[in-house]
């Protein structure tokens, strides 16, 4: 009864039982070309590598967040390879995120951090459906994030998710300003919408 999943059929999800952090890390290590997440309901999501242009966009985002965070000094930035175990049990890897340094525990230096970052950015790729991404942002906020941004290059729009449960959508914008945990951070979106620009 085995069923083959080919790389052209990703993203794909399958059903797994509860896994330890070590099991999950071993799964990721066995397939270095793929990225994995796990939902709170125990589904494993297999994702193909990002298309090159999307990755260039993501690099711009991570660099901007990193540069701001270094000056700001209160927190630390993570790129899309970082895995977090959320309070609801989901294992997620946001495209970019930021966390107050004070939330680090000594044991967090190894393994997956068991917490939700304070600020999360997801970048929609050509193959991402909007609905699952919106649910993901809602999940981050429900699990303790103080601010979430969903960036959609196709419509050049930003969805801002706040802890009060409201989402604000700004279409056709070229910048978005941080607030709450990342007040002071400004992301110039022209460089994200078009990474080839200056």
């Amino acid at each position: 009864m085995p069923f083959l999943i080919q790389d052209g059929q990703l993203p794909a999800t399958f059903t797994a039982g509860p896994m330890t952090d070590d099991d999950f890390a071993a799964l990721c290590a066995d397939h270095p070309d793929l990225s994995f997440e796990m939902t709170a309901e125990g589904e494993i999501i297999i994702m193909a590598p990002a298309y090159s242009f999307t990755a260039a966009r993501n690099a711009k985002i991570c660099a901007a967040l990193y540069n701001w965070a270094e000056k700001d000094g209160r927190g630390i930035t993570f790129d899309s390879s970082a895995g977090f175990v959320l309070p609801n049990g989901a294992r997620r890897s946001p495209d970019a995120c930021w966390l107050l340094t004070s939330r680090f525990a000594p044991e967090d230096r190894k393994g997956f951090m068991h917490l939700c970052p304070d600020f999360v950015i997801e970048l929609r790729s050509d193959t991402d459906r909007l609905n699952p991404l919106q649910r993901k942002l809602q999940e981050y906020l429900a699990n303790g994030a103080q601010l979430g941004w969903l960036l959609d290059p196709e419509t050049e729009s930003v969805e801002i998710y706040r802890p009060d449960g409201h989402m604000e959508r700004i279409a056709g914008t070229t910048r978005v300003e941080g607030e709450g945990p990342v007040a002071g951070f400004v992301l110039e979106l022209a460089r994200v919408w078009n990474p080839l620009g200056k």
Partner: protein, 232 residues
């Protein structure tokens, strides 16, 4: 190899080996192909649009699995129904079929039936009923294929591997595509959710029977043998 991992995925498994051992120029092994086994179902793959023939071919290649396709081009792979669920489902199918034969206005279908919905999803409800007139209105060339029409009445029976959230989305999809009544039966919880167009779902717990309405007014589903197939 983590203990949860299916044997088919272990390094050295013949099928996995041939499919993943695609060496790139620098000798690095590209391993993007996966083989999942039945303990890891349901699974969802992104496949994009498929013709009826390609979909039917895929189903034929996997006779032990039940396949559906969402309106977004996702292939949903479901495991064989657990035995107990099969007895319950057969009870539902038989009661609906017996009523439909007497009522004469429509035809009942079993859970192996595939339907092509207006939103382009290919679905296979656990039981379905449709007015004869809607069948007669179909283009005759579609007759020997998946019918491009939504059943008038649909029943979904929750199995142990079904997530309630996923089933509820499916029920909303039935209504959005033209079903006039849909029931979601959870035998373990002895609960029925009744979906009507334009209304919030109504939940009933512990009922011993359920009366049809709208398209299937007159049908009464005896729930006792659905709750317990061993009941006399």
């Amino acid at each position: 190899m983590p203990s949860f991992w299916p044997q088919a995925l272990a390094a050295g498994s013949a099928e996995t080996e041939t499919l993943t051992a695609r060496k790139s120029a620098d000798g690095y092994t590209v391993s993007m192909a996966f083989v999942i086994d039945e303990t890891h179902l349901p699974a969802v793959l992104t496949v994009g649009p498929m013709s009826d023939e390609a979909f039917a071919q895929l189903c034929a290649e996997h006779p032990d699995l039940s396949l559906e396709m969402s309106a977004h081009g996702e292939l949903i792979i479901m495991p064989l129904t657990y035995t107990w669920t099969g007895a319950r489902n057969n009870e539902i199918s038989a009661q609906l079929r017996n009523w439909a034969r007497q009522d004469k206005r429509g035809v009942a279908f079993d859970p192996s039936t595939g339907w092509l919905l207006p939103n382009s999803a290919r679905r296979s409800p656990d039981a379905a009923w449709i007015f004869k007139q809607r069948i007669q209105d179909l283009d005759p060339t579609a007759f020997s294929r998946f019918w491009p029409v939504c059943p008038s009445f649909v029943i979904e029976l929750r199995s142990q591997t079904d997530k309630i959230r996923v089933l509820r989305e499916k029920m909303e999809e039935w209504l959005a595509n033209g079903a006039q009544l849909a029931w979601l039966i959870d035998a373990e919880a002895r609960t029925v959710e009744i979906y009507r167009p334009g209304h919030e779902a109504e939940t009933r717990t512990g009922a011993s029977s359920l009366a049809g309405e709208g398209p299937v007014a007159g049908f009464v589903l005896d729930l006792i043998p659905v709750w317990d197939p061993l009941a006399d």
